[in-house]
Symmetry: C2
Subunit: 352 residues, 2 copies
């Protein structure tokens, strides 16, 4: 049992090597062990490339693989996606035992890979470092368990909860360390979401500083079509990442845009419709970057899973706009507090 | 020079032994040195008792004192207060040299003690660890330099800057660690100030957990006389510390109270008048504990020197009252951030 944990922990470390490159796929790591010797390690390197099991197994000869044990952080797949099923490869390779951390939450594969392996006489153990594996792909797990994206609401405020000095002007509340952190943090999410007001007032590009083939999609909620004829905005011109606009405006729907920009016509003005579309599009995680009205809506409609508040130790005074004001009290769980120079990052889970 | 700093640092450590007991007097420490040997140390133990110089000198014989050097954190006094002047004692004791950290900011003594010593042929050096000595008695120094009390504004808020869940109800926003810290912190100030609303809604006792003969005076701003016929309030009944009420209400002015309660009739409704009275009464430091309206007034009138914000990582929602809203932006200096379990203490100086 202790040995199983040791090898699984190694597989978890392997998995992390795929960070920022597996996109909609989970990070997965694998270790092949025989007679207490590690024969090979592997991980899912990139979306569309080999799964972790294949990555490890491909490094070994049939003799080495025979009667060996595979440690893998996620249940091996049993369906044809961009890759042939790993379960078949394991069976063909004549492995004796497979140790799995997390059963795949994805409806297409959950339990099926395990059943197939067992049907072919392979011993399967599950649940070793399950919690750690689930946390590794927290958003992936959440998405497939709940059939909606994980929503993180982020706001930057002053000590007196202002998001700016004065309405309608763009101000940096927080320091350079926070700026850098946010630009890195964005890469953890598949999409970044803002309202049309933030798009117009701040003209942000919402890019990440992390080198990744899958920069987060920039989503703008623009029900009324305020972005119509605002083609000079960075989000519409820079072509550095996809930009998706949700709107009810017929003019905006017809507006011609570069090919990285997609316009999603909305039938209703409900956030539920947006969430439904994002789910259909397979967006597993969204980083809501403001402003307060958009942030508030996610909290009030019980769609926000996590809150990150960057705090600057200043009072901006009564003329600034307030941060999100929820309709109901919200208690944060597993609160993490971090000091970033003289600013703070306070984050915690919201009971949804 | 290095030796001077070493002995002065020792004197500073000595001074701190008087913490919480010197009341309106500064903490002062003294060390007597001859031929590189420490002969005696002393400190101002208690308001009304021996000064640090006398405490140290009284432990030595005339032979020991002759030609010795005295290190003292504050300029020796040259006037009769509750004690005879220390300058005379030093001259009588035939000391050779006196090293002083801070020149006394008190108008009655500043520079006079030094002049008297020099006039009697004693070598005097000043400015050794001056900054450290000034910080030790920060409020005392501020009071005598600026002729008004040092004002610290403290508030306890949620992540969304609420001071309560719902108007007119008393709620603990922050955790037990913060509660304990505040009860200790109160002892650093000579007075605690609240508005009548806090007195009526919270019915606080505003005591400190620190054992001291000089618990802070509880001050209530009650211009309109809302405390009239509220004699059951702890502040009016517990007799655990003095209670001062500032009011314009004729009824309240005439109300009979226990002898620990003083009523100060106000001629105007201005905070400046309160500050003037506190200055006359020799109150060097005030800890403003609420609520937001009172706190705001001190900040807006540029009377607040320091802000302490205790922060709880929850959203209390839009129905709660907001913390202080300043009329102008306020940048904090020398910000100190401290984690108290899952709560935070964020504090900094206000540029006044």
């Amino acid at each position: 049992m202790e040995k199983d944990q040791y090898y699984m922990n190694l597989a978890l470390q392997e998995a992390k090597k795929g960070r920022y490159q597996t996109w909609k796929n989970p990070m997965v790591g694998a270790v092949v062990v025989k007679d207490d010797h590690i024969l090979a390690t592997g991980h899912h390197i990139h979306y569309g490339k080999s799964h972790a099991e294949r990555d490890a197994i491909s490094k070994l000869t049939p003799e080495q693989l025979f009667n060996s044990t595979l440690y893998v952080t996620l249940e091996p797949c049993n369906h044809y996606g961009k890759q042939p099923p790993c379960s078949d490869l394991i069976i063909q390779s004549k492995l004796k035992r497979v140790v799995i951390a997390q059963v795949d939450p994805h409806k297409l594969v959950t339990g099926k890979g395990i059943a197939k392996l067992r049907a072919h006489g392979i011993e399967v153990n599950t649940g070793i470092l399950e919690k750690e594996a689930e946390e590794l792909n927290q958003f992936y797990s959440f998405f497939y368990q709940n059939n909606r994206p994980w929503i993180t609401v982020k706001q930057a405020v002053s000590l007196d909860y202002r998001v700016n000095c004065q309405s309608q002007t763009c101000t940096a509340i927080t320091n350079q360390t926070v700026y850098d952190r946010v630009h890195q943090e964005r890469a953890d999410y598949q999409a970044i979401l803002i309202g049309s007001n933030t798009a117009l007032v701040d003209n942000p590009s919402l890019l990440t500083s992390v080198k990744t083939d899958y920069p987060p999609i920039r989503i703008i909620l623009d029900r009324r079509g305020r972005l119509f004829n605002q083609q000079e905005l960075k989000l519409l011109t820079d072509q550095q990442a996809p930009t998706w606009i949700f709107t009810q405006s017929p003019e905006l729907i017809k507006m011609s845009t570069p090919k990285n920009v997609r316009i999603f016509p909305m039938r209703t003005n409900q956030l539920a419709e947006v969430m439904g579309t994002l789910t259909q599009e397979g967006i597993q995680s969204v980083y809501v970057e403001g402003g307060p009205t958009v942030a508030k809506t996610f909290v009030n409609e019980h769609l926000a899973n996590y809150l990150i508040e960057y705090l600057s130790p200043n009072l901006l005074g009564k003329n600034g706009d307030l941060g999100l004001l929820a309709n109901h009290p919200v208690t944060l769980k597993n609160v993490q507090i971090e000091q970033l120079a003289d600013n703070l990052r306070i984050a915690g889970e919201i009971n949804v």
